[in-house]
């Protein structure tokens, strides 16, 4: 909510997003994006993934720099713990996606955020990934996200922002709905 001297600024360029939405409604081919990552094995369960380029708006695009993610398994898995586990990276992906959404929705609704913190928990029975029980799935039994948000808004407005963020979140959709994954070997 704006005051006479202070404009709401969560750092999100809403005008650009709305402009993009209109433009892409008229030109849906430009909306086709392809996100990418490459992964190099280092040793054991330790690998390094890199994100550098993607395709969108009709042409190849590059990030400002190459981003890397180290992944490994922890010592309780008899491993060396050089990085977070892949499943933790997924939880971070969910939290980041939802958090970006919270900022965008708050900006669109003219609500000033002061702080936003998400705590994510993913419950898992590791007998699944160990192949010890066919009835146990590999992935999470369930994921819980708890948001602590300090903003210029009523608790209900904040709940509504968080609900809307889920509605438009890519990672939330990826996790809650089926996605085709095809793995080939060259």
């Amino acid at each position: 909510m704006e005051t006479a001297t202070h404009r709401v600024d969560n750092g999100v360029n809403v005008a650009a997003l709305l402009g993009a939405r209109d433009a892409l409604t008229a030109a849906p081919e430009a909306a086709r994006f392809q996100w990418r990552a490459t992964c190099q094995w280092i040793r054991g369960t330790y690998s390094r993934s890199a994100v550098e380029s993607f395709f969108g708006l009709g042409e190849e695009q590059k990030h400002r720099s190459t981003f890397t993610f180290e992944a490994d398994h922890p010592e309780v898995f008899a491993s060396e713990d050089h990085g977070a586990t892949p499943v933790e990276i997924v939880l971070a992906g969910l939290a980041s996606c939802l958090t970006a959404g919270v900022a965008s929705v708050a900006q669109m609704r003219d609500i000033q955020l002061r702080s936003v913190k998400a705590t994510v928990e993913g419950a898992m029975d590791i007998r699944g990934i160990l192949g010890a029980d066919a009835d146990v799935r590999n992935g999470f039994d369930g994921i819980k996200v708890v948001y602590e948000i300090d903003a210029d808004a009523t608790p209900e407005q904040i709940r509504a922002i968080v609900a809307q963020s889920q509605k438009r979140s890519a990672v939330y959709d990826i996790i809650t709905n089926p996605t085709n994954v095809r793995v080939e070997v060259k």
Binding site: D141, G142, E156, R159, A160, A163, D173, I175, T176, N177
Partner: protein, 406 residues
């Protein structure tokens, strides 16, 4: 529209593929009642005269009401006349039917938005042995085999059908996607009364932020009944209906449900709260705070901590699937280049992109109430004025000022 055109002395004919009120008579289930109270079906020059204004008409009463109106206004209806093609010609439009061909400078499409049931593509992957029917084919629970039923879709149709089927002794699993929750009664008044009084139903299309979104909103989870009960996900859970998320896929005979059920229910609860806040504010502004009960809120939608994500359809627990997944209009006969890339007619408040071609009865066509019986009147008044001006302007070919037929 016919009544409005007659008032303007505009020659017209109403083409109906069946009998008057055909869809109400032939494409609805037995126990269906309007979800708006009787007093709220106000047509131009014709209001409810019966002794149950707060009741809800059943289908026979709805058909009778519309037939009475047609007679009262002497509407020039050609029944059993199916339109097979509409296309543009020099004089305006050529309307081909299974009876004869008509030529007219203007055409009003009032065939509604519910001609064809929408069934998701995953229906093709449902294993054999499970009966499937759409909401348009559903008539009553006795059509269905004994045993479990999965109802897909939790808007007005889905929730009403789920309630009826569960009460018939067939356990219902309800797959819930996006939905709109409202109570039937709030602070002593019907929710339809509130939405009318507060101006919610009169909201205009030009004032809406995202028109596409509101035109695609699911129908209210609302039902008409003598006891004015609220039919929502909590009331369904109470009688034993099991909720699962949106049907996201069918793979190897297993139905997959989205893990987003909790959020969809939260979104619906929040939207309902916003509506009730608006009602309370309206009441306060008018100093009516002592009318009816004080402001209150309803129980949030109860969702299990871990709703099932998968159902093995081959196990036999589900014998029937009812698709309550919406409807869409049939424009297969419309050979006028007014369709957008998604097959919807391009229009501005019912004035289509083709000169002389008008639409009626679509969701939020001009107002939030446009798809209600009560909304037809105001929209018809607006559009008949536009149509009359169009005819008078001479933009329509002058030699087609009256109807001609081959």
């Amino acid at each position: 529209m016919s009544r409005c055109l007659a008032e303007r002395s505009i020659d017209h004919v109403v083409l109906e593929r069946g009998e008057v009120a055909n869809s109400w008579k032939t494409e609805r289930w037995d126990s269906l009642r309007l979800l708006t109270p009787n007093w709220q079906s106000r047509l131009p020059g014709f209001t409810y005269q019966g002794n149950d204004p707060d009741g809800f008409r059943n289908m026979a009463e709805t058909v009778a009401f519309i037939k009475q109106y047609a007679r009262a206004i002497s509407a020039p209806v050609q029944t059993r006349t199916a339109v097979t093609s509409v296309k543009q010609v020099d004089s305006g439009y050529e309307i081909t039917t299974d009876q004869r061909t008509w030529y007219a400078p203007t055409v009003v499409l009032a065939s509604g938005a519910c001609n064809v049931p929408v069934v998701p593509a995953v229906s093709k992957l449902v294993p054999p042995g499970i009966a499937m029917l759409t909401a348009m084919q559903y008539r009553n629970p006795h059509q269905l085999a004994d045993g479990g039923v999965m109802v897909v879709g939790a808007s007005a149709t889905g929730t009403q059908i789920a309630e009826e089927i569960q009460r018939s002794g067939r356990p219902v699993t309800l797959s819930v996607g996006e939905h709109v929750r409202v109570p039937r009664v709030y602070r002593g008044r019907d929710i339809a009364w509130w939405m009318d009084a507060c101006g919610v139903f009169d909201e205009r299309y030009e004032e809406v932020d995202n028109l596409d979104r509101v035109r695609n909103l699911p129908s209210f989870q609302l039902a008409g009944s003598d006891d004015r009960r609220t039919v929502d996900l909590n009331s369904l859970t109470e009688i034993g209906v099991k909720l699962v998320g949106r049907l996201a896929g069918v793979s190897e005979g297993k139905a997959q449900f989205s893990g987003s059920l909790a959020n969809l229910c939260a979104l619906a609860d929040l939207k309902m709260i916003r509506l009730l806040d608006r009602i309370d504010a309206w009441v306060s502004e008018r100093g009516m705070d002592d009318v009816g009960a004080p402001p209150h809120r309803f129980e949030p939608t109860h969702v299990d901590a871990s709703p099932p994500l998968v159902f093995d359809l081959a196990r036999g627990r589900i014998r029937t699937i009812v698709w309550a997944t919406g409807f869409c209009p049939d424009y297969s006969w419309l050979h006028v280049p007014v369709l957008d890339r998604k097959g919807r007619i391009r229009h501005d408040g019912g004035v289509s992109a083709a000169p002389g071609l008008y639409l009626l009865g679509l969701p939020f066509l001009r107002r939030r109430k446009s798809s209600l019986i009560d909304g037809a009147g105001d929209d018809a008044r607006d559009l008949s004025a536009h149509l009359a001006a169009y005819l008078a302007s001479g933009a329509a070919h002058s030699r087609a000022a009256s109807l001609a037929h081959s």
